[in-house]
């Protein structure tokens, strides 16, 4: 009898390393994510019983895959969804068994990419794409995802279930899309990764481990995607942008745990290695000569970190980058950020005009960064009444206690002047 704890540890290690890869295989064969999940979790359960008696097999992935396929075939028969599917599964299982047995990773094409495309298919509701991707490709459990996305666990499980049902019933393909719809589909994958990332990034309170993990998972996915699609500049742009932002992670809080805005961050706390990595990735992306939203976002991040070398931020190129980004996206958030860069170049008056024009945009009404930026602009322009109200809104809409305290301090010091 083996030590149960060590079996458990071995299984956890395999799950972390290979869950997505295994699930991608099963799901693509069965054209059914939930059935694949069932088969895989049965295989993991069987592993727990078997490995604690016989020891961990030499190639645990192959062992799990063989068992999961058998469970899948049983399940398909049980559900009577057709002998044909079961037979097909069997044929594929036999054909691939050798590769798995040999542990020859290179010989097995990675199907996680196909799974990523299935999870972010336009037929799937936008809001559920990132959660679905995290669950299937990375094996993050539904409860963790629910907490990060601020949704009740029950509702998250149901939504994930509905999305998987849709994949099965609508026959969403597990393939890499054709060239003609390629860019639109890739956009879906990138957007979902970015959604997971920004959720983790926006609230990085020290206690909030869940969300911090989300950042790491998103970066892992972007790296994976860049590996699987080395010829796509936007994929590289997304990865570079996330690395730039992540490099500043430690500087976002001071030693007392208080929030430090970007312009006041100590550049020595920025992770130089990560910034260098980001620069390399972004430069490589630019060699393809196909500009896109994520490359522009990364270029903006690159402009921010320029202060590390020169000691100052040059806002002129930032404004140009925002112009290009606005032309692509038409997003009010981009307009807002452009105005802030303008304020640094020409003073607050021009930016205030833009902010007044944006005030009617419903999408910004409860967008906390809008109110925080508005408060600081009006404070700089000496309009205390407007600044006071904007500070109240920014404080009231803040989720992060450190950000809330920071804004309260700013508001108080304005009043004390």
């Amino acid at each position: 009898m083996r030590d149960d704890a060590s079996t458990q540890a071995a299984i956890s290690a395999v799950a972390r390393r290979s869950y997505g890869k295994l699930l991608a295989y099963l799901a693509a064969d069965m054209r059914d994510v939930s059935a694949a999940e069932d088969a895989l979790s049965e295989a993991f359960a069987a592993a727990l019983a078997d490995w604690s008696v016989h020891g961990c097999p030499d190639n645990p992935e192959a062992w799990l895959m063989t068992v999961a396929r058998r469970k899948a075939i049983d399940g398909t028969r049980r559900r009577r969804t057709g002998e044909a599917v079961a037979d097909q599964l069997k044929v594929m299982a036999d054909a691939e068994a050798e590769c798995w047995e040999a542990g020859d990773d290179e010989a097995i094409p990675d199907r996680r990419l196909a799974l990523l495309f299935a999870c972010t298919h336009p037929a799937i509701e936008v809001a559920i794409r990132a959660p679905l991707m995290l669950q299937t490709v990375l094996g993050v459990d539904a409860k963790t995802i629910a907490s990060a996305f601020l949704v009740s666990p029950d509702a998250m499980c149901k939504r994930l279930g509905r999305a998987k049902q849709k994949i099965r019933e609508a026959g969403i393909p597990f393939t890499i899309p054709e060239r003609d719809i390629w860019s639109e589909r890739l956009q879906g994958v990138l957007d979902a990764i970015y959604a997971a990332y920004s959720l983790g990034w926006s609230d990085m309170d020290d206690a909030d481990l869940l969300r911090r993990d989300l950042v790491e998972e998103a970066i892992f996915l972007a790296r994976l995607l860049a590996e699987l699609l080395p010829q796509e500049p936007e994929t590289l742009g997304l990865l570079a942008g996330m690395l730039y932002a992540q490099a500043r992670c430690r500087a976002r809080r001071n030693q007392q745990g208080e929030y430090v805005p970007l312009a006041e961050q100590d550049t020595h706390l920025w992770d130089a290695t990560m910034i260098d990595q980001a620069e390399v990735v972004l430069r490589h992306a630019c060699t393809f000569g196909r500009i896109g939203r994520y490359q522009l976002e990364a270029a903006l991040q690159s402009a921010h970190v320029e202060r590390r070398r020169s000691g100052r931020t040059d806002y002129a190129p930032e404004v140009q980058l925002y112009d290009a980004l606005y032309a692509l996206t038409g997003s009010p958030v981009v307009a807002l950020n452009r105005a802030l860069a303008m304020a640094e170049l020409e003073g607050p008056a021009a930016a205030i005009a833009v902010f007044q024009a944006l005030a009617d945009d419903k999408r910004l009404a409860d967008y906390q960064p809008y109110w925080a930026a508005r408060a600081s602009l009006f404070a700089r322009a000496g309009n205390r009444r407007e600044a006071l109200h904007a500070y109240d809104m920014a404080i009231g809409l803040a989720c992060d206690p450190a950000v809330r305290r920071f804004l309260q301090r700013r508001q108080r010091s304005m009043l004390a002047e």
Binding site: L150, S152, A155, D392, M393, G396, A398, C399, P401, Q408
Partner: protein, 118 residues
């Protein structure tokens, strides 16, 4: 739909804060209430006096029994509530996460029982 956000926290922690910190805490709640109001989401809000002021009443064998103290004697106590209007649970959870109370305690979110219109 309406949701009740019940704010549970350790009331002794509040008493331990300095007056400046308390003032800052109150201001954070005021700003949050203001944001709810401007979003058209605020239905009602109240802060409760400490549990030292609580009294419980129930009928035992037809006779009323009055006891000093809160119903549940735990470290975290109901300290106040927001009654809000939100399109769905996710929106209500979004508001709950922004509440200063989520930082120093726990917020229970419950939908209000909707009676069919008479």
């Amino acid at each position: 739909m309406q949701y009740l956000l019940m704010l549970f926290s350790d009331e002794t922690a509040w008493q331990r804060l300095s007056s400046v910190e308390q003032e800052q805490g109150v201001a954070a709640y005021r700003a949050y209430t203001q944001a709810l109001k401007e979003a058209g989401a605020l239905v009602g809000v109240n802060r409760l006096q400490d549990t030292g002021t609580a009294t419980t009443v129930r009928l035992v064998d037809g006779k009323s029994q009055v006891l000093d103290g809160p119903y549940v004697d735990s470290k975290e106590q109901l300290g106040g509530y927001y009654l809000i209007e939100a399109p769905d649970l996710d929106a209500a959870l979004g508001w709950a996460a922004r509440c200063p109370g989520a930082g120093h305690g726990t917020i229970e979110v419950r939908p209000i029982w909707a009676y069919p219109e008479q």
